[in-house]
């Protein structure tokens, strides 16, 4: 009668459904579900226009209009399996783990990641999800480029990634 633990990982090009992710980890054996939703938010970058006099510094804003995601898809699956295994070793009570991550174009305000973990008691899944998000950012081969209304774009780097410029910092 024991329900086998499920690990569900999906890379999706369409809108992520929080309800679908929650349903994937639901179980009548689990009293708690922790969910994390990562979204793009608007950053207003202020910069000085080169060549202007300091007294009249021209401040311009550029706005993130969306994100472009790509992934090494096969390796995402193997890294997330490894991650789930490490979570279960540290929190043996965890039942199901589900992670949906967007690929391709993601508009500002849309979720790029939805993760849910279920466990009988809330402390385990709450601790596990914090660790899981950090580990995913450190190890899942997924990249995002911020695209601005100025037509510019820039590849982002997670501080959790050990070989990033910000590597080793905690976010």
């Amino acid at each position: 009668m024991a329900e086998p633990p499920r690990d569900v990982f999906r890379l999706r090009r369409d809108w992520l459904s929080v309800q679908e992710v929650v349903d994937s980890v639901s179980s009548s054996r689990c009293g708690a579900v922790s969910v994390f939703i990562g979204r793009t938010f608007i950053i207003l970058l202020l910069f000085l226009r080169a060549g202007r006099a300091t007294r009249e510094d021209q401040v311009e804003g550029r706005k993130v209009i969306g994100l472009q995601y790509e992934a090494y898809e096969a390796m995402v699956q193997s890294e997330l399996s490894r991650l789930a295994g490490a979570l279960r070793a540290r929190w043996p009570s965890l039942l199901h783990v589900c992670i949906h991550h967007r690929l391709g174009w993601v508009k500002v305000g849309e979720a790029s990641i939805v993760m849910a973990i279920s466990s009988p008691h809330r402390q385990d899944c709450q601790e596990a999800i914090q660790h899981a998000v950090t580990q995913l950012k450190a190890n899942a081969p997924i990249w995002k480029k911020e695209v601005y209304d100025s037509q510019e774009s820039s590849w982002k780097e997670n501080s959790e990634c050990s070989w990033s410029q910000r590597g080793g910092a905690s976010d």
């Binding site: 995913l136 081969p141 590849w155 997670n158 070989w163």
Partner: protein, 102 residues
Amino acid sequence: GTTDGTVTVLYFARSAELTGLREEELVAVPTPISSAQVAKLRRSDQVAARRADGDSSCFCRLVALQGRVVLAVRRQYVTIGNQQLSLQDGDEVAVVPPLSGG
């Protein structure tokens, strides 16, 4: 020795933009080989370098990554250095810029 068949090199994000490639196939790759040498094997750069003036530096394009890059060999991360790897026919090697998932 060298590998009998091909090794596939995959590029992502900034490494794909810098090389202009998503993927290339390498033949007769020396093995064993250090991960640092693997990082220099990219055919596109070799071709570009030969075409220019025989410059033996193959790291010309990815230099913009300023060392902030690792490899994934058979889907396992490998830092670029002296570590010896045995590559085999069909192996997949990815050039992995800093991650930004989540």
